[in-house]
Amino acid sequence: MALEITISTGNPRPIYRQVAEQIGKAIRLGHLAEGDALPSVRALAEQLLINPNTVARAYSELSKDGVIISKQGKGFFAGKRRMIFTAEERERRLAQAIESVVSESLMMDVSADDLLRRIEKHLKSHPPSHE
């Protein structure tokens, strides 16, 4: 599946981070499988109409986090899904995400049943895990 990345300018999030986040997401969602080649820095820069150094920076951050793997002379490849976070980090992030959903819902008087139904529905709309 083609890598679809949209760049939004005028955004407080720097462009390199937008690129890194969207590649990370594509790997987490299974749109890029482990070992899939990523476009070259130059090719992605020309496709997205952004400075090649920006793409290089996004790739280098992703490699540092282990999301993608750099192979000398061959380019960049998608890494394993979920090797991204340690168990504690995963727990921390999940707790944070749940806290945010629950507190927002309570503030808007969404009932517990409603909330659970919505979460189930949302889960179904995502592709099943590949593992």
């Binding site: 005028g10 020309e46 150094n53 290089a56 280098s60």
Partner: protein, 326 residues
């Protein structure tokens, strides 16, 4: 007075080292009568970079570029372009420079083919494939009269004329002026295409900050002839922050905040835009109430940085920043 100048040694192993400069400007100053258009401007543009020159109308961008191209002499100071003094650029240097003047000037009585032929006679190197492919890109017919072209088409022709000699250094003075979104995209594509070869340098001025954000490695911000920033886009955005201060009762006194650029007050909130540094952090900590930090994109950061303070800003007399700009 320059707020942020960041080191140019970008340590990225995948890219060629950028230690040499294509352009070096030293204390450049130019007066028109008693008006100072460029004031003590010093700037280095590393080889291989795409460098955006930003500033409001009348900030001194075009004057700087015209001096660099040897079309105007500085009142004081100097500049070197491709290692030559800009006041005595020999033809060998000029043929390595592609200069697109502001406003896309062309000889209207020539056909596009004649324009190409005329321009090519000034250069030993002329890549007619590039010339034709850019004309095609802009859907231009070589038999057409240059004078009958629309503004965007004229920009396409000028771009083709500028890029065909495959210049090492490209100097574009507001190339996007008057272009529609599609033509602007073609312009950005051309700029990225040019830098496919190593050590090609582009200096461009623009008001379209979304384009600048996309392609520039570094930016320089000039305000009233004075260089006010020289750094990567992100550094610039990182240093300009908006803070929303929520308070109860009387409004806290923010007039003494260091680096205050802009502020807006409502009933229970004051939003201030400031240059973020340690002094500011210390000052913010002393303010009562809840403070929320809001990051800004390039456009908002730029407008706050060089915009005039209009009706929306109050009580900005005697701030440190204002003294600094005078």
């Amino acid at each position: 007075m320059i707020y942020f100048v960041e080191s140019k040694n970008i340590s990225n192993p995948t890219l060629p080292a950028m230690n040499e400069n294509a352009i070096e400007i030293n204390s450049l100053t130019r007066y028109f009568g008693t008006k100072c258009a460029v004031n003590q401007l010093s700037l280095q543009i590393p080889k291989g970079s795409i460098f955006g020159l930003l500033g409001r109308n009348g900030a001194g961008k075009t004057t700087t570029i015209r001096i660099l191209m040897g079309l105007m002499s500085p009142t004081r100071g100097s500049a070197r372009v491709l290692d030559y003094d800009c006041q005595s650029l020999p033809p060998e240097a000029r043929e390595r420079i592609g200069y697109l003047a502001e406003g896309h000037h062309i000889y209207g009585w020539m056909t596009l083919r004649e324009c190409g032929k005329f321009q090519s006679s000034f250069f030993r190197k002329w890549n007619s494939d590039i010339f034709h492919s850019i004309l095609n890109h802009f859907r231009l017919d070589e038999r057409a009269k240059a004078g009958n072209l629309s503004r965007g088409q004229r920009a396409g022709l000028c771009l083709a004329l500028t890029l065909a000699p495959e210049p090492e250094l490209l100097v574009l003075d507001d190339p996007a002026l008057g272009l529609d979104p599609v033509a602007r995209r073609s312009l950005l594509e051309s700029m990225l295409y040019v830098t496919r070869k190593d050590n090609r340098t582009i200096l461009f001025s623009s008001h379209l900050l979304s384009d600048v954000e996309r392609v520039a490695d570094r930016i320089a911000v000039v305000h009233q002839g004075v260089l006010r920033a020289d750094c990567p886009v992100e550094t610039f955005c990182d240093h300009i922050r908006q803070y929303v201060i929520r308070y109860n009762g009387t409004a806290p006194d923010i007039s003494t905040l260091p680096g205050l650029l802009h502020s807006f007050r409502t009933d229970k909130e004051i939003s201030v835009t400031c240059v973020k540094d340690d002094a500011l952090k210390a000052a913010l900590e002393k303010l009562p109430g809840e403070i929320i930090e809001v990051p800004l994109g390039l456009e908002d950061a730029f407008v706050s940085y060089v915009g005039e303070r209009g009706e929306k800003s109050f009580f900005l007399e005697n701030t440190k920043h204002q003294e600094a700009t005078r």
